[in-house]
Subunit: 227 residues, 2 copies
């Protein structure tokens, strides 16, 4: 059913992780896939409810080959992930890097990086693993943050819903290229090119209860914006 | 099965557009939902393939109560949408506005706006509607762009895959609030507050073939970044 052409450095290819179009944009390389997953915290979790697809935004973090997904956006997926059978899911992470504008409407494109992971998710119930997962989720949003706040207590851990998807059937796609106009369109008097898309952070606004200076990791987020 | 408590200004509520948690974050108001859909071009399209969920990133645009979704990310969903029965889909649009950092790990949150639309998608085959949809998709990425480029010809239109989802069973969720620590955590010596998340554009890089100055709509994107 699957092959591992590149051994441990790649995830196995399966029919549903093999694209039918733009095959040169796909990769199964572990390192490339991890880099995309690690570059953001926002993911979209897909599952099937009463036979119909549901896609909810949530937060993810990767620990090795395990992907942890926060269940805060609704309890429906978590109910399904509680049993031994688990819940079939698709977790998708997308980063837009640039708008690619061409002289024809048809050839417009986007430079992007995305990961699509398929598999069966299980709710994390072991308190030790749950602690690891929660720390990873907090640190995914702000690096180092979990060590700077009050950790979850037993009651909070019990109220936290995290599901685990073991990374196995997963692929990445990306485009990082120039505008690709048809030769006969190149002389048209239109603007073509690439417009980078950037994500940054505004000035942090401390809560009224905050009596300490801005930590270095948060200052670094803002600095990255101004770079 | 559904009620329209607010008449034409809201979409009907159904069991699956009624959240089980954080009910005060949900809305069915047409105007609020349209505003979120119109605020970005990136969406995540969910469908069921061989009984399992699939979530793919793609581009959307709204025309009235119709949501058009580009099928470029793969031909699988389009095959399903071609028949008269159409394809059950879930289209989700998410905007992250801020990180919400609290003194406890447990209370961390994100300020966001999202829309989840359920329904049956159909492939757009009428050339006139396809032209409208393609123009809307291009203009969703860069306002006014479709009027500044060579329109799609008949061959390109035939090669373009767009699906339509009539907005009917759709809801929005949002959080726009301060850090929400438990009272007993407020005195902890940690930084709590809100860190705005911003999306912007870098300096446009013209293609070698470009012989015209930067159009005003693209200049406006960059200006928004510097504001």
């Amino acid at each position: 059913m699957s092959t591992t052409p590149d051994g441990d450095t790649s995830y196995p290819r399966t029919p549903r992780t093999t694209p039918t179009r733009y095959k040169d944009r796909a990769t199964w390389e572990r390192e490339a896939i991890h880099a995309i997953l690690d570059a953001t915290y926002l993911c979209h979790l897909g599952f099937v409810a009463d036979g119909a697809p549901v896609v909810l935004p949530t937060i993810h973090a990767r620990v090795g080959d395990r992907l942890y997904v926060h269940g805060s956006t609704g309890s429906r997926p978590l109910r399904g992930a509680r049993g031994e059978q688990g819940l079939p899911v698709c977790v998708t992470v997308t980063l837009v890097d640039a708008l690619v504008l061409t002289k024809s409407a048809f050839n417009h494109s986007v430079n992007f990086r995305s990961v699509v992971a398929h598999g069966t998710a299980h709710q994390v119930t072991d308190p030790e693993e749950l602690t690891v997962a929660l720390d990873a989720l907090v640190d995914q949003v702000v690096p180092g943050r979990s060590a700077e706040v009050r950790p979850a207590n037993a009651k909070e851990l019990a109220a936290t819903a995290v599901i685990r998807l073991d990374l196995d059937e997963v692929s990445a796609k990306s485009r990082a290229d120039l505008a690709d106009d048809d030769p006969e369109d190149l002389a048209l008097p239109h603007w073509a090119g690439v417009v980078p898309v950037t994500t940054g952070y505004g000035t942090p606004v401390p809560d009224a209860s905050t009596a300490v200076p801005l930590p270095a990791n948060l200052a670094a987020l803002t600095a990255a914006r101004d770079a």
